[in-house]
Symmetry: C2
Subunit: 165 residues, 2 copies
Amino acid sequence: MLRMTKQADYGIVLMTRMAGEAGRQFTAGELAEETQLPAPTVSKILKILTRQELLDSHRGVKGGYSLARDTAAITMAEIIGALDGPIAITECIDDSPGECVQEPSCAVRANWQRINDAIRLALENVTLAEMVHPLPQRLVTLGGRPSPIAADRLAAGAAGAEALR
Amino acid sequence: MLRMTKQADYGIVLMTRMAGEAGRQFTAGELAEETQLPAPTVSKILKILTRQELLDSHRGVKGGYSLARDTAAITMAEIIGALDGPIAITECIDDSPGECVQEPSCAVRANWQRINDAIRLALENVTLAEMVHPLPQRLVTLGGRPSPIAADRLAAGAAGAEALR
DNA sequence: CGTAAATAGGACCACAGCGGTCCCCTTTCC
DNA sequence: GGAAAGGGGACCGCTGTGGTCCTATTTACG
């Protein structure tokens, strides 16, 4: 598992669709039809994204939604965070004053922080712009060997995203 | 959110505890008491981990569980995968022959694959051994500047884990 | 050889949270 | 002033998770 919710999934689909024609304004119904997602749900998601300041909304007739920022300035982490709450694999991270079981697990906490950071980072380093224009292949084939290629891809992904901004 | 289940969380706590005295054998009750986790649940998790060949079990009196491999050869990804199923943020990854909404979202799929890979990688690059002996600080402070530090940390984390093996 | 201590394997249940719908209000254009 | 849009909730079914319990089966030991 280790899933994000469908809301976040849908949110990314919607944002990506909007990023395809950045600057333009879309109505909820329009987006629902184009993405084939249930209209009420689309509307709900757009409202949340607006409240989180990822979208601008215009009420009234001829109203609709548009991206609040440049496509390169909106990351997956933000969208997921807006719809699914803080990005953290474990629960005992945020605060939890209580006695988190015992020492062994708490000795573990520092490591979880690292893991959470790594994941948040991976998500922060993918922008909406990249979702529309997939990264070139070179980022995937930068490495060479079968195992270390992974590390290379990770670094390359981050660096690549950085370069795109 | 973006959470993993408590099962996986508990599983890591248990495995980490066992890694503290590698080679030794623990009974389910013993581990439950030491970690302050509910005994039946601990038992359930240990069974699953055994079935996934992360633990060896010995039945009968004087029985118990012990790590199936060296602590450096067991990764977070394996433990989580064993308890929570395949590690993938999105659902439409595995197979799903159906029509995954439309083109826009499917154009997105390649990028999701990258993100999933990055996360899986982050999890694969943390071994049980590291959970017991936290990594030195240098891995966190390798970078320098506020923003690019992130990319450096990511790469450093992966590389560091690699080096530990 | 029998008993106790351990794992193996399920069946089972309660409940939170997610996915999804619907309704009513407000805003704005024509 | 009416129609078309978003704003803000209330609401509800259902899946899956967290957790318990029961019944084999295995094995050490007296």
